[in-house]
């Protein structure tokens, strides 16, 4: 098995593993972010360039470094390869540049975006970007479009990761969904505005890293961090039936696929489970979903809430009496 060293940590991985997946096997800080790569979708990856790493030693046989930064999601590891990710200033700088490019034409309408709180681009911006933008021109805009009666496409927010195109290609039988035009005006669209009519089409919403494809049955119902996720299942003939329900109070606001720690859906679910089964009685509830403490969604949960109360109390104690009057009752 080839042995690869990423940021000084060595691991043996199966033949043909990409650098990104090798890094995910190690885990922790050294995992490059990925906006377009999706394990379950073939030929995905390589477009967004956020996962670029520096290969300082090609392999045991050919120890020359690679001349350019490589996209770790598509570069298979070689035996003896040495990779730098967060330890290379060049990679950190390049990644900040890519974040700037991705956010350049993004509307930053997070306050009204349904994806906010579980958006990969938000996380990427916080973790790898710089504050502020140097872009001073008009951002590109598109009209909102409906793809079928359950999905809305908000192209202005799209970062053209091609994930939904791969879903349409690989999960749906007929190919009606793709990219039109080119360059910075290219857009995701369907063939002559055709609605996507397929049992699995809803998975586009799950794979979208930003708020470009949204579930019309959930739009503007709630911020995601006010909803509580639980794992549930039902007997479904079309898919595995293993889903995640998002509760607000006692109502099921939306149903999505279960995502792993890298934000990728474990099993694709069918549209019937996603859109039509919104009663608690339809489902067998298994357990609450473990929410990562870094996630915005965890703000609605246990420890952080306690911590926030403590913080507020401490803040109150510090602040002069007069100023707190107006804000906290």
């Amino acid at each position: 098995m080839p042995k690869v060293t990423i940021d000084g940590i060595s691991i043996e991985v199966p033949e043909g593993t990409s650098i990104l997946n090798a890094a995910r096997m190690i885990g922790g800080e050294i995992v490059p972010p990925a906006m377009c790569y999706y394990t379950k979708l073939e030929t995905s990856g390589g477009y967004c360039r956020t996962c670029m790493v520096k290969v300082v030693k090609g392999s045991e046989k050919d120890p020359r470094p690679m001349p350019k930064l490589v996209a770790s999601c598509r570069q298979p590891v070689m035996d003896g390869m040495e990779v730098q990710n967060i330890t290379s200033p060049e990679v950190v700088e390049a990644r900040a540049g890519v974040v700037e490019f991705l956010l350049m034409n993004h509307p930053l309408d997070c306050p009204i975006c349904d994806q906010a709180g579980e958006c990969n681009l938000q996380d990427l911006g916080y973790e790898h970007g710089k504050d502020g933008t140097r872009y001073e021109f008009q951002r590109r805009e598109f009209e909102k479009k409906d793809i079928g009666d359950k999905i809305q496409l908000h192209m202005t927010r799209c970062i053209l990761c091609y994930r939904c195109v791969k879903v349409a290609d690989q999960l749906c039988p007929s190919r009606v969904h793709g990219v039109m035009n080119r360059g910075d005006v290219s857009e995701i669209s369907t063939y002559i505005e055709k609605a996507i009519d397929n049992e699995m089409s809803g998975n586009m919403i799950d794979v979208c890293p930003v708020g470009a494809l949204t579930d019309k049955t959930f739009r503007f119902k709630s911020r995601v961090w006010f909803t509580k996720p639980v794992e549930a299942h039902r007997n479904c003939t079309k898919c595995s039936g293993n889903v995640r329900l998002w509760f607000k109070g006692e109502d099921v606001l939306r149903v999505t696929g279960r995502k792993d720690q890298w934000g990728e859906v474990k099993e694709f679910i069918c549209n019937e489970c996603r859109y039509d089964k919104k009663n608690v009685s339809d489902w067998v509830i298994e357990q609450p979903t473990h929410v990562d403490r870094h996630s915005v969604i965890s703000q609605n949960h246990y420890e952080n809430l306690k911590q926030m109360k403590l913080d507020t109390q401490r803040l109150k104690a510090k602040l002069p009496e007069k100023k707190t009057n107006g804000n906290t009752k």
């Binding site: 390589g46 477009y47 670029m52 390049a94 890519v98 490019f101 021109f137 080119r182 360059g183 910075d184």
Partner: protein
């Protein structure tokens, strides 16, 4: 004038037709090659030292020897006739005037590679040349040079012309393959390289028009003889499309190794700068290569005269040198604005970016907008540094070389002509070009 191997007999009557081409030594090389073994043809090309004429200058013989040969899998040869680099127009000229030399070269090359189906991927705008090629191919089929059992040797070859839809990105070999397969012309991520998985996942070689045409004289005169032409590792002849402020623009065939000064000023070639003006800058190999000021182009950093060859032009690296590229020799006289020229190039790359990977998709448009600010008289000194920073974040960070090609002209223009950018900043409104303003805003002058 040096030896000419490709465009020597263009003035002969009927050279574009099969009888005329045959009367002047056409299809002799094919008959010779079909008597050889395929490996011998490959080794002749390797001996000749022929390098790809499309821009990258990769040794052709080596490229052919890389092709995977799994049993039972067809192999393909694709001719890249998607010539769209600003400043380059040699392939169009060759295909229009002498289509049979390309067809003959393709039959020999397909035979050497063991391909039974080959394609010419021609750019959508070249409809005139497309029809010429179609007609020439039909002539070749009728004469038995194409089809089943060519010249009784038992070798079969079908040659098709495929017309693209006019996208620069389809000149990148994997983008070309995608487009040929009927898909959106997005370049593929390498590896796998086309030599392993190309057209329909089969081993494929993609070569430029001029490269394939050059195979004909190589077979005619043997590889060793061909290698004697030229200088060092730059062997043979090269078509140069000279344009800009020169007395005699046009396509010239040079022996590699001609001094740049001779090429620029001698009456055989460009004939000097138009109207007795001074030379300011030259883009030596099509819009993608770094622009060089006149004095740096004529002399290498060591003070020797620079030659028209792959090595000599790139001497001094990117800081002081440039590249031979595809041979689009654009000359600018002292009245030319480098900033405006750069805006034009960058606008081209913005328009032609496929939009697949983010640095190129967003960065090219951003650079164009900033350059437009310079021409509009609103730019600040910080914009020069910003431009430099953007290009450095595109260079080498993209899937295909279009990102690099978009960033190199910007980098070299700032490196060599920074004072001119500063002039645009200082003089602001006075420098504003009203014609330019009208054109980009689709306004009519009052």
């Amino acid at each position: 004038m040096g030896r000419q191997l490709l465009i020597n007999d263009l003035d002969k009557e009927g050279i574009a037709t099969l009888p005329g081409y045959k009367a002047h030594g056409g299809y002799v090389a094919l008959e010779k090659a079909l008597k050889m073994k395929p490996e011998e043809v490959v080794s002749e090309v390797q001996k000749s030292g022929l390098r790809g004429r499309g821009g990258a200058g990769f040794p052709t013989g080596m490229k052919w020897s890389f092709i995977a040969k799994p049993p039972g899998v067809p192999r393909y040869l694709v001719c890249n006739a998607d010539e769209s680099e600003p400043g380059t127009f040699k392939d169009r000229y060759l295909m229009q005037r002498k289509p049979h030399v390309l067809i003959e070269g393709m039959i020999i090359s397909s035979f050497a590679l063991g391909a039974n189906v080959s394609y010419i991927y021609i750019r959508g705008e070249m409809m005139y040349q497309f029809h010429i090629l179609e007609k020439a191919i039909q002539e070749a089929y009728d004469a038995g040079y194409l089809g089943k059992n060519i010249l009784g040797t038992g070798y079969d070859l079908d040659l098709y012309v495929h017309c693209g839809a006019g996208a620069y990105i389809c000149g990148e070999e994997t983008g070309l393959i995608e487009s040929l397969e009927g898909k959106r012309g997005n370049p593929r991520i390498k590896p796998p390289f086309p030599a392993v998985k190309g057209v329909w996942q089969c081993p494929t070689v993609v070569n430029n028009v001029e490269t394939l045409a050059a195979v004909v004289p190589i077979i005619n005169m043997t590889g060793d003889e061909y290698a004697k032409i030229g200088i060092g590792k730059s062997t043979g002849t090269k078509l140069i499309s000279a344009s800009g402020h020169i007395n005699k623009p046009g396509v010239y065939e040079i022996e590699l190794g001609v001094p740049v000064e001779e090429f620029l000023y001698s009456d055989q070639y460009c004939g000097g700068i138009r109207n007795g003006k001074k030379l300011k800058a030259v883009v030596a190999g099509g819009s993608s290569v770094p622009i060089l000021p006149g004095e740096k182009l004529l002399k290498t950093p060591k003070g020797e005269p620079r030659l028209m060859s792959y090595e000599s032009l790139s001497e001094g690296g990117f800081g002081e040198g440039t590249m031979l590229g595809s041979g689009g020799f654009i000359v600018m006289d002292e009245d030319t604005s480098v900033v405006k020229n750069l805006w034009n190039f960058t606008r081209f790359y913005h328009h032609e970016s496929c939009g697949q990977c983010s640095p190129c998709r967003e960065g090219t448009g951003w650079m164009e907008k900033i350059l437009h600010k310079f021409l509009d008289g609103h730019a600040t000194m910080a914009d020069i540094d910003l431009l430099w920073d953007i290009q450095s974040k595109i260079d080498g960070r993209t899937i295909c070389p279009l990102g690099d090609a978009a960033s190199w002209p910007v980098a070299s223009a700032i490196r060599h002509f920074r004072s001119e950018f500063e002039e645009y900043v200082k003089n602001g409104e006075n420098m504003r070009d009203i014609q330019h303003y009208y054109r980009v805003n689709n306004l009519q002058p009052a």
